[in-house]
C-alpha cells in the first residue's frame, strides 16, 4: 500500500529537494573550479563538520514546535562566550575548564532562552523576524557587557584579556592555554566509562522499580542490561580496544572501520534482542541490507586512492560522538510526552489548546532546549578553533547554521537530523571551495568570498520565500476537497483500506 506513495513521482522528489540538488551541483562545480585536492577538501570539511554540526542540530527542536528557524540561537552562543571568558579569567584549563564552561553556560542559556521564549509568545507568527531582531539587540547588550561592564563595573585585572586601560575585553582571546581542543582531545575512554556507569545505574534503578511492581520480565531485562554494562567495562581493558579508546583523533580510516563494526554489531544485536527476548518479528531484510552496505563501505577502504585519502584525514572522536549523541537526543525527545506535545503545538495551536496542552509553556521549553544546545555547540566550535573573537564569534552563528540546515533540504516547518548533517557537508564544502574557485574563475578571491556570503543569505531568502509560497498553494488545495465531498461512503472505503 505504501509503494505507490513511495515511488509516487521522481519528479516531485527532485522538485522538493531542488535547493539541495542545486547545492550538490554548485559544490561539484566549485570543486573542479577551485583545483583543490580531495585531501585538502576532506581535511577542512571534517574539521568544519565537527565544529558546526552541533550548532545546526540545535535548531531542530523549535522547528518541530512550529516556531520556525530559531534565529535567536545567537543568544545561546553569547551565553557560551560569557562562560568561556569567565573561565579564562579564572584560568582554569583543560577539560576541567571546558566542563566548567558547560556548567556555567547552562543556567545562563536557560535564563536567556526563557526570556526569548516569553518574547516569542508575545509575537506568535513573527518568531523568525523577532529572533533576528532579538539577536541584533542582544549583540548590542553583549558588546556593552564586554566593552564596558567587564573591567568598568566588574574590576578584572588581567592584562592578557583586557585592553590596556583595564576597561573592556580584548578583540581576540587565545584559548591555547585554556580550553583549546579540550573536548577534541578528550579520550573516548572516559566517556565510555561514564556511559557504562550510567547504564548500570539506570539498570539498577529500573530493576528495583520493576521488583516493587513484581514485573519479573522487566526485571530480567534490567539484569541483562547490568551484565552487558559489566561486560562492556571489561572489554575496555582489552588492549586493542583500550588503545582505540585512548586515541583521541582517529584517521578517517579508523573511523570508517569503527563505524562499520558498530553498525554491524548494533544490527546483529538488535535483531537478536528482538527475536530472542521480545519474541517479535525483526525486519531481517533491512538488517541484511544494512550489513551489506557496511561491508561495501569497508571493502571500499581497500581501494588504494581511497585508502590513502582516508589515512590523510583525522577526526576528533569525542566531538563526533557528541554530535551523534545530540542526533540521538533529538530523536529520543520526540518519543516522549514532551516531544509529542511540541509536535502537536507545532502542527496546530488550536488542537493543542483544546487537548489541554500548555502551549506557551511548551514553546518556551522548546526555545530553552535550543538555546542551551546552541550554547554547547558554540563551546564545541570555540574549543576547536582555539581563539575567541570576542566581538565577532557569535555574529554569524545563527545565519550560517540556518543556511546550512536549509541547504540540507529542511524547511521552516520540517527538519531532520539527516538534513542537518547533509546541509553542513554541502554548505561548508562550498564555503571551503568558494574563495579559490572565485580566484580561478574571476582572478579575484574576494569574489569567491562574497559569493559564499551571498549564498548563505540567498539560500535563507529563497527558503523563506518558498515556504510562504508553498504555504499559500497548500491553502488553496485544502479548500477544494471539502467542497467536492468524496463520493464513496466510509464503509466501502474502509474495506478497501483494510485489504
Amino acid at each position: 500500500m505504501n509503494n505507490p506513495v513511495g515511488k509516487k513521482n521522481m519528479r516531485d522528489m527532485l522538485f522538493e529537494n531542488k535547493v539541495t540538488l542545486l547545492f550538490v551541483l554548485l559544490c561539484i562545480g566549485a570543486f573542479f573550479a577551485s583545483k583543490q585536492t580531495m585531501g585538502f577538501l576532506l581535511g577542512e570539511l571534517f574539521t568544519r563538520i565537527g565544529r558546526n554540526t552541533f550548532l545546526v542540530l540545535s535548531l531542530l527542536i523549535p522547528v518541530l514546535a512550529g516556531m520556525g528557524l530559531n534565529f535567536g540561537i545567537v543568544i545561546g552562543a553569547m551565553a557560551a562566550q560569557i562562560a568561556v571568558f569567565s573561565v579564562s579569567v579564572w584560568g582554569i584549563t583543560g577539560f576541567k575548564g571546558f566542563a566548567l564552561c558547560v556548567l556555567l553556560s547552562t543556567p545562563l542559556s536557560i535564563l536567556f532562552g526563557y526570556g526569548a521564549g516569553k518574547l516569542f509568545n508575545n509575537m506568535k507568527g513573527s518568531e523568525m523576524i523577532g529572533g533576528m531582531v532579538l539577536g541584533y539587540c542582544a549583540n548590542g547588550l553583549y558588546q556593552l557587557l564586554f566593552l564596558f561592564i567587564f573591567g568598568g563595573v566588574i574590576p578584572i585585572n588581567n592584562s592578557r584579556l583586557m585592553i590596556s586601560g583595564g576597561v573592556g575585553v580584548k578583540n581576540t582571546i587565545d584559548l591555547k592555554d585554556t580550553i583549546k581542543y579540550a573536548l577534541d582531545e578528550l579520550p573516548l575512554l572516559h566517556v565510555v566509562e561514564l556511559a557504562l556507569v550510567l547504564l548500570a545505574l539506570s539498570a539498577v534503578i529500573a530493576w528495583s522499580a520493576a521488583k516493587k511492581k513484581g514485573d519479573t520480565a522487566a526485571g530480567k531485562r534490567q539484569v541483562l542490561r547490568l551484565v552487558l554494562s559489566a561486560v562492556g567495562f571489561g572489554l575496555t581493558f582489552v588492549p586493542p580496544i583500550r588503545s582505540l579508546l585512548t586515541t583521541t583523533r582517529y584517521t578517517l580510516l579508523t573511523a570508517v572501520e569503527v563505524v562499520v563494526a558498530v553498525v554491524i554489531a548494533y544490527t546483529v544485536g538488535s535483531v537478536c534482542y528482538k527475536k530472542l527476548l521480545l519474541h517479535q518479528e525483526a525486519d531481517l531484510k533491512k538488517a541484511g541490507l544494512r550489513i551489506a552496505l557496511a561491508a561495501v563501505a569497508y571493502a571500499l577502504t581497500y581501494v588504494d586512492s581511497i585508502y590513502r585519502l582516508l589515512l590523510s584525514v583525522k577526526v576528533p572522536v569525542v566531538t563526533y560522538c557528541m554530535i551523534g549523541l545530540l542526533c540521538f537526543f533529538n530523536e529520543a525527545l520526540m518519543k516522549t510526552r514532551l516531544g509529542q506535545n511540541m509536535r502537536t503545538v507545532g502542527q496546530s495551536l488550536s488542537v493543542a489548546t483544546a487537548s489541554g496542552i500548555n502551549v506557551d509553556r511548551t514553546r518556551i521549553i522548546a526555545i530553552i532546549f535550543s538555546t542551551v544546545l546552541a550554547g554547547y555547540g558554540q563551546l564545541i566550535s570555540m574549543q576547536n578553533i582555539g581563539t575567541f573573537q570576542t566581538y565577532g564569534a557569535h555574529e554569524t552563528v545563527g545565519q550560517f547554521a540556518i543556511a546550512a540546515l536549509l541547504v540540507g533540504g529542511a524547511s521552516v516547518q520540517k527538519a531532520t537530523n539527516k538534513q542537518a548533517v547533509l546541509g553542513v557537508v554541502l554548505f561548508h564544502t562550498l564555503f571551503i571551495l568558494a574563495p579559490s574557485a572565485g580566484k580561478n574563475l574571476f582572478g579575484n578571491s574576494m569574489i569567491g568570498e562574497y559569493f559564499r556570503v551571498f549564498v548563505a543569505y540567498g539560500v535563507i531568502a529563497l527558503s523563506l520565500a518558498m515556504h510562504a509560497w508553498k504555504g499559500k498553494a497548500a491553502q488553496k488545495i485544502q479548500l477544494k476537497p471539502q467542497g467536492e465531498k468524496p463520493g464513496a461512503g466510509p464503509s466501502a472505503e474502509a474495506e478497501g483500506a483494510a485489504q
Binding site: 509568545n121 509575537m123 506568535k124 523577532g130 531582531v133 558588546q143 562574497y450 523563506l464 520565500a465
Partner: protein
C-alpha cells in the same frame, strides 16, 4: 481634557523620549560639551536620514509592513550615484552647463537614474512580496541581505573605469568608500545654509527643503485617489476589494514607491555624509529606518508623515546627543554602534510584540 487629548495624539513614549532629549541637552551643557555643535549635528543628520525613513511610509501603508528590504532601493540609488559620478563633470561641461551648477546636475542625474533603477527593482520585489503575504518582513530582511551580498560581487566586476572610483591596484573593482568632494558632496547641505544669529547652530536649509519637499509630495500622494486606494488596500484588503481595488497591484505600487524613495534617500544621505559607502555598509541601514519610523509612533500597519518627522528627529537626536553624554559615563570607543544596536532593535522588538500579540493563537 485638552491636555490628555494632546498626550494621546503624541503618545507617551514620544513625550518621554523628548523629555529625555531635553535632559540630555542639560547634561551636555553641564558637562561642558559643545551643545550648539551637537544641535547642529542633530539638525544635519535629521535631513540626512529623513528621506530614507520616509521610504517606510508607502511600504507600511500599502500593507507590506516595515520594509526591511529597503536595501534594494539603496542599491538602486548607489548605482545611480555611481553612474552619474562615472560620467563626471566632463559630461556636463560637454553639454555646456555652467560650472557652478555641475554638482547640482550631477546629483539630479544620480537621483533620476537611481529612482528609475529602484522603481524597476521595486516592481519585481513587490511581485515577490505578493507571493509571500504574511511573511513579508522575514522574507524582505533576507532578500535585502542577499542583494547586498550580491552587489558586493557586482561592485567588484562592474565596468566602472574612473580613476577615483576604482582601486588603484589591479585597476578594477570599486573602492569601499568614495569621496564626493569632487562631485556632489554637500550640494543640498550648503544651499542657503545659515547659522542662527548669535549661535553656532547651523541650519542646512537646502537639505531640509529637499526633505520636507519629499515629505510633502508623499503626503499629497497619500491624499490622491490612487494613494487613498493604496492605503485602503494596506489597512483593509477586504474593504479595498469590495470597492473594486486590485489589492495586489496597489501593494506593488507601494513597494515600488518605497524602493524608489529609498534610492533617493541614500543619495541624499551620501551627499550630506560626503562619501558613498559600498559593500556591506548599507546592510543594516533598513533597521535604523524602521526603528526611526516606529519611534515616531508608526505601527506595522500604519505610518504617516508626522511619524517620519517626529521619529527621525527623536532617533537621531537620541544618538547624536546621547552619545557624548554616555561617553562621559562609559568611556568606550565604539559606543555609538552599540547604542544604535540596542536602541533600534529594542524598539523594533517592542513594536513586534505589540502587533503580534499572540492573537493568532
Amino acid at each position: 481634557m485638552n491636555n490628555s487629548k494632546f498626550i494621546d495624539r503624541i503618545g507617551w513614549p514620544r513625550l518621554i523620549i523628548a523629555a529625555f532629549l531635553v535632559l540630555l541637552l542639560i547634561l551636555a551643557q553641564i558637562s561642558g560639551l559643545g551643545v550648539q555643535g551637537l544641535i547642529s549635528d542633530t539638525f544635519r543628520r535629521y535631513g540626512q536620514y529623513g528621506v530614507l525613513v520616509l521610504a517606510m511610509v508607502p511600504g507600511v501603508q500599502c500593507g507590506i509592513g516595515l520594509n526591511f528590504g529597503i536595501s534594494l532601493g539603496i542599491v538602486g540609488g548607489l548605482l545611480g550615484a555611481l553612474i552619474s559620478m562615472e560620467l563626471g563633470p566632463e559630461f556636463w561641461v560637454g553639454m555646456g552647463a555652467p560650472e557652478k551648477l555641475i554638482p547640482l546636475f550631477t546629483i539630479l542625474l544620480a537621483l533620476v537614474i537611481g529612482a528609475a533603477f529602484a522603481s524597476v527593482i521595486g516592481i519585481g520585489y513587490g511581485i515577490l512580496l505578493n507571493r509571500v503575504k504574511g511573511s513579508e518582513m522575514t522574507v524582505s530582511t533576507y532578500v535585502g541581505f542577499s542583494i547586498i551580498a550580491f552587489m558586493n560581487i557586482a561592485w567588484l566586476i562592474l565596468p566602472f573605469k574612473r580613476g577615483d572610483l576604482i582601486w588603484t591596484i589591479g585597476g578594477s573593482g570599486l573602492r569601499t568608500t568614495l569621496t564626493l568632494e569632487n562631485s556632489f558632496g554637500n550640494v543640498f547641505n550648503r544651499f542657503l545654509a545659515f547659522k542662527i544669529p548669535h549661535t553656532e547652530i547651523e541650519i542646512p536649509t537646502g537639505l531640509w527643503l529637499f526633505f520636507f519637499g519629499a515629505c510633502f509630495l508623499v503626503w499629497l500622494f497619500l491624499r490622491s485617489k490612487v494613494g487613498m486606494a493604496m492605503s485602503a488596500a494596506g489597512s483593509n484588503p477586504a474593504f479595498a476589494r469590495a470597492n473594486g481595488i486590485n489589492v495586489d497591484k496597489m501593494r506593488i505600487l507601494g513597494t515600488a514607491i518605497s524602493t524608489a524613495i529609498g534610492a533617493v534617500g541614500i543619495i541624499v544621505y551620501a551627499q550630506s555624509y560626503g562619501f558613498v559607502q559600498l559593500y556591506n555598509a548599507p546592510m543594516m541601514m533598513g533597521f535604523s529606518c524602521v526603528a526611526s519610523v516606529l519611534i515616531g509612533g508608526a505601527s506595522i500597519r500604519r505610518a504617516n508623515i508626522s511619524n517620519v518627522l517626529i521619529g527621525t528627529l527623536l532617533f537621531q537626536g537620541l544618538l547624536t546627543l546621547g552619545l557624548p553624554v554616555a561617553n562621559r559615563i562609559i568611556p568606550v570607543a565604539n559606543l555609538s554602534e552599540v547604542m544604535r544596536l540596542i536602541i533600534s532593535n529594542g524598539i523594533i522588538l517592542y513594536a513586534l510584540t505589540k502587533s503580534g500579540g499572540g492573537k493568532n493563537a
